[in-house]
């Protein structure tokens, strides 16, 4: 109880900021356990419908199956 009283010196701030921080920690935990980046790499393209190795690649092979 004493520890809580020592920790909580401004109840109003503790409530609104505590809620915001809890939400952030929940989001962090979800991301950590699902291997999800906050900001996904925009240069990585996820595609459905794999068609196999392109026999002749060429410089423009990137995203060839689009």
């Amino acid at each position: 109880m004493t520890m809580i009283k020592t920790f909580l010196i401004d109840l109003k701030t503790a409530i609104w900021y505590g809620c915001a921080v809890i939400a952030l920690l929940v989001f962090f935990t979800y991301s950590a356990f699902t291997g999800t980046k906050y900001f996904p790499d925009g240069n990585i393209q996820k595609n459905a419908g794999y068609k196999g190795v392109v026999p002749h690649s060429g410089y423009g092979v990137r995203f060839y199956h689009k």
Partner: protein, 461 residues
């Protein structure tokens, strides 16, 4: 001396001004020895009804006051009666403030001081016994191991007053030094006639509402507040301290969660394979390997293309997971790029990305230099568990790279998330730190002893 240790306020007594003969009510007739006639502003020494002597005539009051002598109210759990109202100024300057002298029948005198609409409740050792521990420590004052920084020093002069006193208030001269640790203020008064007499007082910032509630009046007639009070609480300081505590606790919890995640979902190298960089099949009429740009007419000049490779299958466990694809090629003053395709054999999904490696070095004017590196890592996030392989389509600036090396690691730590979370957690404390500092800088702008202006002289007396 003010009459104390009573059970109630003393019975008021009416005396007559020796100058204008108008009646004056004394609210502590046994304790008071001086009074001011509010009709003719005579300053009178009063011993008893027979010994009444006019000392001088004072200036009339300049400002409207909110509490008349005789008004009763309760502040901080103690009942007070207003005995006097004083208007003061700093000797040698135009700074003016107002004080109300309060009388408690158990504790004696206390004061309400108002400057720029900011109020302090100030009292001596009868109210605050810890004042006996107050002492100077260099240019600061210390009480109960708490430091109070010097804010102001001056000689107060009474310009006008009304009410009654147990000492010759009008003639008293003291050197005053104020030390602050908001909402508290330590006041040190040294008598100029007898320098051995040093009195300490403790002041606490008090809001107009507290005073109005205590004396059951409205705040309408209270002077308007402007600037920042010397001991006014910093509204952002508590917010700064609270957000800092929560952020530090959250950072510790976040690291704990991350460590737990690393224990429950350990990182593992699931594929580690050399990728041979072989020239593509040569057309029949070609006699030597040539720049594939010439053959396809689509590659930039100086770009050599190698045969696409498919790696062995590997399994990603504990998905969805973040996966590191690490490509190494010992290029030397050269570059190498590869389109990498992570293929889910279960869902027929792909993640396409390009990895670039370039490493150049040399000597310039006797100094060695280098830029780039021989490896590249890209993290693919949110990859479901299952069986995968990688297709890689390499090309380079020369035909010499012989082999690249590809490594896939699952359940890697997402440092980006950690740093972004820490940065977000730092935002609120930093913002409130800035606000509270700006408040303090503004507060100390009114002082000659600002810790934010180190060039200020802090000479001791």
């Amino acid at each position: 001396m003010a009459t104390v240790k009573l059970r109630t306020f003393p019975e008021p007594k009416e005396v007559f001004c020796p100058h204008c003969a108008k009646p004056v009510t004394l609210y502590d007739p046994e304790g008071s020895e001086y009074f001011v006639c509010s009709s003719c502003w005579s300053y009178v020494k009063y011993t008893d009804q027979k010994n009444v002597q006019t000392l001088q005539t004072l200036a009339p009051l300049k400002y409207e006051h909110i509490l008349d002598p005789g008004t009763v109210g309760t502040l901080k759990g103690t009942e007070y009666k207003v005995l006097a109202y004083l208007e003061k100024k700093e000797s040698g300057s135009d700074y003016e403030w107002r004080e109300y002298m309060l009388y408690s029948y158990t504790k004696g005198y206390a004061f309400l001081a108002e400057y720029n609409g900011h109020w302090s409740f100030i009292a001596g050792t009868e109210h605050f016994s810890e004042l006996k521990e107050a002492k100077m420590d260099g240019s600061a004052a210390v009480m109960n191991n708490v430091e109070y920084l010097e804010y102001n020093r001056y000689v107060p002069v009474i310009t006008a007053m009304t009410g009654e006193f147990d000492w010759d208030a009008y003639e008293e001269r003291v050197d005053t030094r104020e030390f602050i640790n908001p909402p508290w203020m330590l006041v040190r008064e040294k008598n100029t006639k007898n320098v051995k007499i040093v009195d300490w007082y403790l002041g606490e910032y008090i809001t107009p509402k507290e005073i109005a509630d205590g004396f059951k009046i409205t705040t309408e007639k209270f002077p308007e507040q402007f600037e920042i009070g010397a001991n006014q609480p910093n509204p952002s300081k508590l917010q700064y301290q609270q957000t800092l505590r929560i952020s530090l606790a959250a950072a510790a919890l976040m690291l704990f969660i991350q460590i737990l995640c690393m224990i429950l979902r350990p990182s593992e190298v699931v594929m580690d394979q050399a990728v041979p960089l072989e020239a593509p099949p040569v057309a029949k009429n070609d006699t030597a390997r040539k720049d594939s740009a010439a053959a396809t007419n689509s590659l930039p000049i100086g770009t050599y293309e190698f045969q696409p490779q498919k790696t062995a299958s590997f399994t990603i466990n504990n998905g969805p997971a973040a996966v590191d694809i690490h490509l190494v090629d010992p290029v030397d003053n050269d570059w190498m790029e590869a389109t990498v395709e992570l293929v889910s054999e279960k869902y027929n999904q792909t993640w396409d990305l390009t990895q670039e490696i370039e490493y150049y070095h040399g000597y310039d004017d006797g100094d060695s230099w280098s830029e780039g590196s021989t490896n590249s890592t890209i993290t693919v996030d949110d990859v479901p568990e299952g069986k995968y392989h990688i297709n890689i389509y390499p090309y380079a600036g020369t035909q010499y790279p012989a082999e690249a090396h590809l490594t896939v690691t699952d359940n890697v730590t997402l440092w980006q998330n950690i740093f972004v979370t820490l940065a977000i957690l730092a935002l609120a404390p930093l913002a409130f730190w800035y606000f509270q500092r700006r408040f303090e800088v503004s507060r100390w702008m009114s002082s000659d002893f600002s810790p934010y202006n180190k060039s200020t002289s802090n000479d001791d007396d």
